[in-house]
């Protein structure tokens, strides 16, 4: 799976979790830019992405995430390790 495919999977997951089918994100998007991205939806989002890609992130990995692009990179790295 390439990074664009990973991004699209994450985007679809975000649209479901944030209940916004028109949501547009980029690699540079951050939580602050999305109204519905709060403490509740953040946890839902991470757990759903873990399920989608069949992986688990460590706390250290999660703490480094600042942008959607970081998440794409992290998923990509873990997929290539598998």
């Amino acid at each position: 799976m390439n990074k664009e495919e990973i991004f699209n999977t994450i985007l679809l997951t975000c649209r479901t979790i944030f209940n916004d089918s028109d949501l547009e994100l980029s690699f540079d998007s951050t939580a602050d830019q999305v109204d519905q991205w709060d403490s509740v939806t953040h946890i839902q989002l991470i757990l759903e992405i873990e399920k989608s890609f069949n992986m688990r992130f460590s706390l250290g990995e999660l703490q480094k995430l600042k942008r959607i692009g970081n998440l794409v990179e992290l998923v990509s790295e873990k997929l290539s390790e598998a």
Binding site: S39, L59, Q63
Partner: protein, 479 residues
Amino acid sequence: MKLEKKIKLFLENVPFFYNLEGTPIDSGQFIYEYNKIKLHLYDNHLGSIVAIQLPKDYQYIICIIACMDLGITYVPLGEDYPEARVQQIKKISEFGFKINVGMYQNIVTRETKSIAYFKRTVNREPVLYILFTSGSTGSPKGVEISRSAYENFLIWLGKEFRVTKEDTVLNATEFTFDVSLVDVGFLLNSQPTMVMSNFKNDLFCLLGEIEKYKISVIAAVPNNFSLIFKDEIMARVDLKSLKYALVAGSRFSENLYHNFIKYVPHTQVYNCYGPTEFTIYCLFKKLGDNNDVEKGVVSIGQPLLNTHALIIDANSNIVDNNVIGELVVSGPQLMSSYKGDIKRSLEVLININNLKYYKTGDLVYKTSEDYFYMVGRVDDTVKVSGFRINLSDVDSYIQNIDKVLDCVTLFIESKDNEGVLVTYLILDGSISTSEIKSSLKLVMPAFQIPKYFNKIDKFPLNSSGKICRKTLKNNFLSG
């Protein structure tokens, strides 16, 4: 011990701080910045009221303790407060000076006199701080808390918790929320290491901080814990260091109670209760006995040191055990008044048996063992993440937006979450949710802005012709 003596002791034993970036701040740097701020306040602002609007970091604590030290009344402001809100608060509190980031940097980098300059004794103002809380008509209320009120709280804190220099406290709350003064209290009482949490909305970050810094003490809101207590999250974290969890600010659910036992059985958990008007907490329950839960409600325990709590009916008569009524509290931690608002102060302060009591607006009952259980509110005030929000107040802001004909805001809770604000709107024309939120961000703090806005043609009415909130809630929950 007087507050000024505690501060002197603290300054002689300043612990390590970890700032928002995780950088250690040693006592030398802390004292250097502290003395600069204190000198500036001493030279220019004795006898006046000072507002603090800084990021939630150690510099905020420096300013708070410097104000406490000099007896300057301070007003905490959120960094994200819109200017309109700051001006409202300025008008009510009459603060004459505001420390913001630019001002702070300016003060700590300029040349000043040496610390030996402090010679005069200062006349300390009796009001320690003025904390603003939601009003009901678009105007916030400024709660005046005295030095002696906080001193009583500090005595209780010192007696109840065995926190020492070896402990590490995580500051997880904003300084506009009085629970942050629990952390300041631990600093003044016993100088533990202090970590300034950077978690915002990311609870994985909070968990990471607890693990990384081996946090032993945390004062937080229920949602900080209820959201993380899941097998798939707890399996990746080690919370063995956590000695005390002080939980307050909104409903402590039975589900959360059982999850604390399941996931952190070694942690001593406290369910604490207190309105801003009574200096942080006024009742508390040290969880771990047969009185913890009754009929699905987690006890708020018993009054803390020197506090009296009664339950009254609509005629201000004291009710019997197991009868629901309004909780009223009295004691040294009671606020002085709402700043500049005698009318509102008189509405909530009543005399019973020659003692002044504060009417909390919370519906409670008490068992024969003298444990209190909270079951609801007498008005439409709710608590979200520790912040008290009056729903009528929220509506009054929304109704001022162009194209909004009418609105009603509801607080909707689910089993696991503390609840969200949902507004139903009748519009005259077209306006998007983001446009509404943008308008509100100009006049009210973020925590007061509803999460969801639903447009509706007309409100459902009940048999007496009032808006049927129950129908709206059911509609929302059924999706």
